[in-house]
């Protein structure tokens, strides 16, 4: 009596495994899968880019996991993904930790906006100092005199501000804290800049997605997110006063203005453009980067990556404004294309 269930289960498992392996071979023969992970900041844009690129190249698939800039840097360093993505440029310490050099390829510009969920009629205006004090816990109510002073004529509720921050290692956090460090002595002394900091007050949420979700669901909440997330979810966001003293609403144009001085951008593109002095610049703007190894060890994947990057510099840039991301300045695109051509494929 050989009708053993255990035997049957084992046979089924083996058969299933064989099927998987066969279909692996089949799928592998059909399409190339390239894995990347990192920043949530550009995720809506990358998501669209990958989908559009796939339409033109149906044999190549880009799988991108939006886990935060910190994750992107860690995973590309560990080589568990084929490319990383980050808004925060890697520090020299991070870069020396990789066992081969990599390029930061800037892909687009975006804005970190202060979004909120409060019954405020009209536009909210904030200054860097006030934002820092909210996040330091010094300003706790919506109708605090410091906020009221900037928003005459607007009724502010007398309720608590429920501060939200990123609980994961985030490039968006890096950009935001970089800005706060520049505009608030109290912030730079106490907290500083980083992908992950010791927030004095508030609750943490995961990813730009999580913060947006938290703001959306929590009346009285205030948090920092990438512009597209606020717009997609119909959340209001504040105008912020810049170095030139004007209150600037984050738009594709005002973010581009922050990167207008291409000469200030170093050869490796690692630069901070927050608190820009340009008159019409939105002060919390940032580049976002794809991280790729200069020497690509997998010929097929390397070729696909380079091809995609070139596509991103031409076709991709045209898509950016439709999702509220700013295209790279033209002068910069030429430089980046040259850098892309320096990627060596085995």
């Amino acid at each position: 009596m050989k009708n053993l269930f255990k035997n049957l289960m084992k046979k089924t498992a083996v058969a299933a495994l064989a099927l998987c392996l066969l279909s692996t071979a089949a799928v592998a023969a059909e399409s190339l899968l390239i894995n990347g992970a990192g920043a949530t900041f550009p995720y809506p844009l990358y998501s669209k880019w990958f989908a559009e690129y796939h339409k033109a190249h149906s044999d190549i698939q880009f799988n991108y996991q939006s886990i935060g800039s910190g994750g992107g840097i860690q995973q590309i360093t560990a080589k568990t993904v084929d490319f990383g993505a980050t808004d925060a440029p890697m520090s020299s310490g991070d870069m020396s930790a990789t066992d081969a050099p990599l390029f930061h390829i800037p892909t687009t510009l975006g804005a970190v906006v202060v979004s909120y969920n409060a019954p405020i009629s009209g536009e909210l205006k904030l200054s860097g100092e006030v934002i820092a004090n909210i996040y330091l816990g010094k300003i706790t109510k919506w109708n605090d005199p410091a906020i009221a002073a900037l928003n005459s004529g607007v009724t502010l509720p007398a309720t608590d501000i429920l501060v939200v921050y990123r609980s994961d290692g985030s490039g968006t956090t890096y950009v935001f804290t970089d800005y706060l460090t520049k505009v608030s002595g109290a912030w730079s002394g106490k907290i500083g800049t980083g992908k992950s900091v010791k927030w004095p007050v508030g609750i943490g949420a995961k990813g730009n997605e999580g913060v947006t979700g938290m703001i959306k669901q929590t009346p009285g909440a205030l948090g920092y997110v990438e512009l597209n997330y606020a717009i997609e979810n119909k959340l209001p966001y504040a105008s912020v006063s810049n170095k030139a003293g004007k209150f600037i609403k984050p738009t594709v144009a005002t973010v581009s203005a922050a990167a207008s001085d291409v000469s200030k951008i170093p050869a490796d593109y690692r630069v901070s453009i927050t608190d820009s002095a340009a008159a019409e610049a939105y002060p919390i703007s940032s580049f976002t980067y794809l991280l790729v190894y200069i020497k690509q060890t997998d010929a097929a994947k390397g070729k696909a990556l380079v091809d995609f990057l070139n596509w991103a510099m031409t076709e991709g840039q045209k898509i950016s404004p439709s999702l509220n991301y700013s295209p790279l300045p033209e002068a910069l695109v030429a430089k980046v294309q040259k850098t892309i051509s320096e990627i060596k494929i085995k």
Partner: protein, 278 residues
Amino acid sequence: MNATRRQWVNRVMMGLTVLATLVALVPLFFILSNLLSTGVKALDLNFFTQLPKPVGEPGGGMANALVGSGILLTIACALGLPLGILGGIHLAEYQKSRITFYTRFMADLLNGVPSIVIGIFVYAILVIGMKSYSALAGGVALGLMMIPTVMRTTEEMLKLVPRMIKEAGLALGIPYWKVILFLVVPAARKGIVTGVLLAIARIAGETAPLLFTALGNQYWSVSLTEPISALPLQIFVYAISPYETWHQLAWGGALILIGMLFVLNLVSRFSFKKSRGR
């Protein structure tokens, strides 16, 4: 204390236990009804056949997550069933073995390890080792979680098999290993299947060990060495997102997952009943 007072106390305390039961059933009722009403709206043909679409585009589905979960569970069984069942056989049939105590002990330990810690372990070994997130890593993490349950159930079910069967086999001159494999195990098979189904039900809903092993994938993938999507993973990602369309998909996925688990639980309960009732 007079009799009436004691009667009163008795009634009150017994009433409290009834209350406790009702209170416990309230969240169950709410969770299931919320799940049903919110989830059912998301279940259309798209859900089962489409891949996730980029943010803002309608019509996405969770087809790849359903397939991915299936693949992960298959890999888990490939690891967990042989180790669990053979280990259970060892515990039950080779009592004189020196390692039975340690095996049971370790199985208990493994059972108590939080699933996220198992994820860390598999990450350190397989993801770093293979330099890639993979379905294999995810499946192994889930498989490890299966082993204690399958081993324990197999051992108990084998022990319940009447000695007569073993003795009869041995008396006929059948070698011990054939007695176990072809007489005792088949006699216990319904119970073993129950244990297996329950173990599968437990790991089918696990998310934490997949977070840094299988990682997730927006495309069709049946490859063992690439990241793969899974139903609970996708539910998590969609749940903490801000997009309404994704929330809907999360609820739909949750409904399917619960449905699957309840079916597994019911089937295992009834098949076991039938075998005991004999």
